[in-house]
Amino acid sequence: MNTFPLRIVTPDGVRFDGDAEELIVRTTSGDIGIMAGHINYVAPLGMGQATVLAEGNKRYGACIGGMVSVVDGAVTLVATTFEWSEDIDIDRANASKKRGEEVLSDKNASDADIMLAKARIKRALVRSGVAGQRKLY
């Protein structure tokens, strides 16, 4: 399969730098798959699973916020947070989800708090979902 150079960068450092065969990532307008020879492209990222196919291996990551860009065949994923499935701390995600649910069940919570709690739960679900993926293969 043809490959393309892929870089995944976050504020904490570079998560991936090498050739990949395919990248599937969730943008704000839905999942997209990028393969070699893609047209120049920019899209903001939503919250979801990112799949990287490199050297015949599939790797999964929880990718939240940021953007993906393709410039002259080189793909860059600039993510606010990006964790490979094996690096995800499931206990932390579950604890975070629980904290979010507590806020939602509180009738006196303010709108801002509820919004934060919803985002928190969403992130936790993405993380635990991606962490569960690795058992499948």
Binding site: R7, V9, T10, P11, D12, G13, V14, T27, T28, S29, I32, I39, N40, Y41, V42, A43, P44, G65, G66, M67, S69, V71, T76, V78, T80
Partner: protein
């Protein structure tokens, strides 16, 4: 020669020695913190470079959309974010960045957002209005905080509470040199002038330029803030290390000097005593 008593000199030596111990300890603490901060700066740089260049590409390559973040405004209401340290004894670190911020602020309607205790105290003392956002402790501001600050700023900018947003921080050039800098965050301006034909971009934006742009701006601001914070933190530690290093050296010099004087005074006292005894026995 024996004008200064040996006891007095001895006391001074002792006090210098304890000062030296403190500065030496502070230097070592700063050196170890600096290493961590430096790593953080290096690992975060690729992220900002990418974010920054993509941002500029969009701004420069597209002409057919407008955004609340784009273009100069007439108003003069300015928000100035200033990143300084939490503690003193860091050479010129705090005063340099605050001085720069003050000169940039001249003759504008300014509100500040201080990050770091020293910055907060400074603007309180100068009686300059500041946003109360509880980010006074620079060491404990996290990446998440940066993004929430960025979101807040975007909101204030969109509803025209501010027409301009500036950021003053300290650039970490090397361990020995740190430069205070002031950059404009908002509004974003097109840097290239019109060049027909070439300007037409062949990049696909999904769903469209304006949406991508508006989604990336808060991200971009948060990223820049976090980057500036990392740079400032590393600069603070580097400045402190250098300052404490020279303080330790000065203390060493003074101790040497005082020891010499102490020995001379002691010698003089002994000589005098001998002379007195000899004179008495004759």
């Amino acid at each position: 020669m024996a004008g200064v008593s040996t006891k007095e000199i001895k006391n001074r030596i002792r006090s210098m020695e304890s000062t030296r111990q403190i500065t030496k300890a502070m230097e070592m603490v700063a050196a170890s913190k600096l290493r961590k901060a430096q790593e953080q700066v290096l690992s975060s740089r690729p992220y900002f470079e990418m974010l920054y260049s993509t941002m500029n590409d969009i701004v420069d390559s597209t002409r057919d959309f407008s955004s609340p973040y784009l273009g100069q405004r007439k108003g003069n209401k300015t928000l100035h974010i200033v990143i300084a340290g939490d503690r003193g004894l860091a050479g010129g670190y705090n005063s340099n960045v605050l001085k720069l911020a003050m000169s940039e602020m001249a003759e504008q309607e300014v509100t500040t957002l201080p990050i770091g205790k020293k910055a907060a105290e400074f603007f309180k003392y100068k009686e300059i209005a500041s946003l109360e956002m509880n980010y006074a402790d620079a060491a404990s501001v996290t990446l998440g905080d940066c993004f929430s600050i960025a979101k807040e700023i975007c909101k204030l900018f969109r509803n025209r509470s501010f027409d301009r947003v500036y950021l003053s921080y300290t650039n970490f050039v090397t361990v020995l040199s740190q430069e205070p800098a002031c950059i404009r965050l908002l509004p974003l301006l097109r840097t290239k002038t019109e060049r027909d034909g070439k300007m037409q971009s062949d990049v696909v934006y999904e769903p469209d330029e304006a949406t991508v742009f508006d989604a990336i701006v808060p991200e971009y601001l948060g990223g820049v803030l976090y980057g500036a914070l990392c740079e400032s933190r590393a600069s603070e530690q580097a400045a402190r290390r250098t300052a404490m290093d020279s303080a330790t050296k000065n203390a060493d010099e003074m101790i040497d000097d005082l020891s010499l004087r102490f020995n001379r005074a002691r010698q003089a006292a002994i000589t005098q005593e001998i002379t007195e005894i000899v004179a008495g026995s004759q």
